[in-house]
């Protein structure tokens, strides 16, 4: 915490790099699952799209309305989730996103939480669909 506080309201280099050049931003054709979290009134909306093959996250994309923290958290989440099994991905938390980015400004912590929620929501959506099928 002391470390995060000392960074004030700045972003890590990694967060800024992810924000400027996100590899996982954009649409996905026929996703197997979608996780939609956030609210435009609050200023963050995150949609996470998954392609799942043999219980593994084969591909992942995001579409996010939000600030640098929201977009870089989305990108970090996709990088962390890709290639993982659903069980492994379910265990990812906002702390993993934070650790991956280095840090976020203290007031932006909720963006990393939203990222983890988006992924979990997408996995829930996948399991629901899968159950019905």
């Amino acid at each position: 915490m002391a470390d995060i506080k000392s960074k004030g309201n700045t972003y890590s280099k990694k967060a800024l790099d992810y924000f400027k050049n996100p590899k996982y931003a954009g649409d996905m054709k026929n996703p197997d699952a979608v996780g939609k979290v956030g609210n435009p009134v609050c200023g963050d909306v995150m949609h996470i799209f998954l392609k799942v093959t043999k219980n593994k996250i084969e591909d992942v994309k995001f579409k996010t309305f939000g600030c640098v923290a929201a977009i870089s958290s989305s990108e970090a989440l996709c990088r962390l989730a890709k290639g993982k099994t659903l069980e492994q991905a379910e265990k990812l938390t906002n702390k993993d996103i934070l650790d991956h980015l280095g840090w976020l400004p203290p007031v932006k912590m909720h963006c990393s939480v939203l990222g983890a929620e988006g992924l979990h929501e997408a996995i829930r959506n996948y399991r629901e669909k899968h159950k019905k099928a």
Binding site: L16, G26, P40, C42, G43, D44, F65, G66, I71, V107
Partner: protein
Amino acid sequence: MKTIYLDNGATTMVDPKVVQEMAPYFEEKYGNASSTHHKGQEAKMALEEARETIAKSIGARHDEIIFTSGGTESNNIAIKGIAFANKKKGNHIITTKIEHDCVLNACKWLESQGFKVTYLDVDRQGFVNPDALEKAITKSTILVSIIHGNNEIGTIQDLEALGKICRKHNVYFHTDACQSYTKTELNVKKQSLDLVTMNSHKIHGPKGVGALYIRNGVKITPLLHGGGHEHNLRSGTENVSGIIGFAKAVKMTSSGHVRQMRKLRDYLIENVLKIPETMLNGTVGDKRLCNNANFSFKYVEGESIGAYLDAKGICTSTGSACSSRSLEPSHVLIAIGLKPEEAHGSLRITLSRFTSKEEIDTLLKVLPGIIEKLRKMSPLADAGSGW
């Protein structure tokens, strides 16, 4: 990477000629203006000349100006100083929903001390309705405080009309002129003003200096007690070098600069509005600060726009919640009727007399691409106009 500074509503570059004017007051003319020896008197003379410059610029007398540490302090003295000194007359203050935080928070604090505050609404362009002001005045009203040029959306209030009402009802009238000072007419007599907040760092002067006009005869109490500086209203050794810089900055302003900024502002607005689903916040023409433009871009978030612009060396600001400490969208944008999601997508661009057309052209070249890139990333854009 060359910096393009378009955040002059936050602060401005100190004019090199201002720095030059200040320089002797550090190592050579360093006297304390309260000292009776020649070093002190040298500083005192310069201080009083500066006071005269500020007074003249708003049609006031030199003994009606006190120097402060800036806009926040001037606003605090005006509001709390009037409230404390006029308690016997009443406990009601009228202000607006679009004031700077230092006015709003001073008023909120006074509410905790037993004062009553009315926060007037504004219309879609950000104007206060003079009739609404008149209706809000009661027998216990002691002060009306209304911002002159709004710091976010640039709307300039009709002080003359508002001032007449205050005078008619014998209520003190204060305006926060931090953004408007030297950019549009400010005349304490014509506009029936009792108190005016001014500052230096928005007009190419140094930071940490401001002034407060207090009309002779106004009942006010100081916040800082000490050696009795500034007519007993603001104790503390005067920041002579800063004050000299402030006065020089005032002298360097001109109506030509205002016309030049207004022309560039209108060119900027015209071209930014070519981006689809973009709107201008505030009003147009002479009733908008000559250096202010404020836009809302649908489906995208302001801090992100600002961060992409910053990556290209362009400094701007936003009213988005994400950029504020409170995570609340701008109270000014909400007061003019924007939905929170529209306020989140706002970008403020503020010019100075040093801003060139080439700089605006560079911004216009990169901005449409940034908005497009962010919209491609935004799930809201898919939903269309329904946000």
